[in-house]
Symmetry: C2
Subunit: 193 residues, 2 copies
């Protein structure tokens, strides 16, 4: 299949505007939304794709903990998200946490409708959930909160999320379980006719 695949490492909005005649069967956004600096980025990308694709496939974390082993990943997500809103130039993995419902709402606004979706529980080999808990547990995270968040109430709100995550990790340790990665939501959108 090699000859039929072209890799472009580029900004999608820039690429689409520089190649206005290109049309596609499917655009795939896989685990990219949480890296965006705001929900407007997703909105702009879907707007640019609107008249040029038949389907958009999206994969993103589902924000659901189907087992208590993925609860630390869920809580680490919200802790990092709460820090990001006070430190918007951060390049952390978790910046714009959009739930499946929030993604559907944005897509609908642009003119896409949800065709089908599924939720899968990743295999234990996918270590992202564990890595995110390490980020939040780290001294660097605490330092960043202390540096970037000045309001005492906002600070304790982030520490409460971090402490709840640590407590969830301790529970797993007692049960001799490893923290896992939360469920993934896979959706196919189609242009509304």
């Amino acid at each position: 299949l090699g000859a039929q695949i072209v890799f472009k490492q580029t900004d999608v909005l820039q690429f689409l505007s520089q190649n206005p005649s290109l049309k596609y069967d499917v655009a795939v956004l896989t685990h990219c939304i949480w890296y965006f600096t705001s929900p407007n980025v997703l909105q702009n990308i879907l707007q640019a794709l609107k008249d040029r694709v038949r389907h958009v496939c999206i994969a993103e974390y589902a924000l659901s903990a189907s087992s208590n082993t993925s609860l630390p990943h869920l809580l680490s997500t919200f802790a990092q998200n709460a820090l990001f809103v006070r430190n918007p130039t951060s390049t952390s993995n978790i910046r714009t946490v959009l739930s499946p419902a929030a993604i559907i709402e944005i897509a609908k606004k642009i003119g896409f409708h949800l065709l089908t979706f599924s939720t899968i529980t990743p295999s234990l080999d996918l270590r992202d959930g564990y890595w995110e808990t390490c980020t939040v547990e780290s001294v660097d995270f605490v330092q960043e909160v202390n540096e970037k968040v000045t309001d005492v109430n906002e600070k304790v709100a982030i520490y409460a999320l971090r402490d709840a995550m640590i407590s969830a990790l301790e529970t797993l340790k007692l049960e001799n379980k490893q923290p896992s990665t939360m469920d993934v939501w896979n959706a196919v959108f189609s242009i509304s006719s």
Copy 2:
């Protein structure tokens, strides 16, 4: 025991300063900390009690979900807390979410040390966890977020918590389970000698 009990419905700091000679065996702070407008309130109360009590007993939610039935309560707590930091005159039930670790840290700073603690899972009759999820699920909550939170990233961060809570509630519904109240942390502090 009636004759030995005196009820005073008053502000504790004001009461202590107006009655400087009164000393006590034990001061009990039961499920009050989360109503405080900032962590400084707890700090000031412990400071005022410091030379006038032998022990301080504290009961507060543990921020741990020992079962998936209390996950919605945990997530509703963080959603309300995130709204409170943008709406500090709110009189909601959940304002200053201090974890057990955060309470211990404040107590230590004043000169108290943790003598003993336990964590209990409330009986299903305690409906507080369910009520908190109703608060976050309500149209009023959504309206308050839209009115009080102007930054789009902060707004989606709160909606992500709300959507995760709704997803956790839906999971319980499929399992034919009721949302429950999260664990309670009970601690006894003593003045450090």
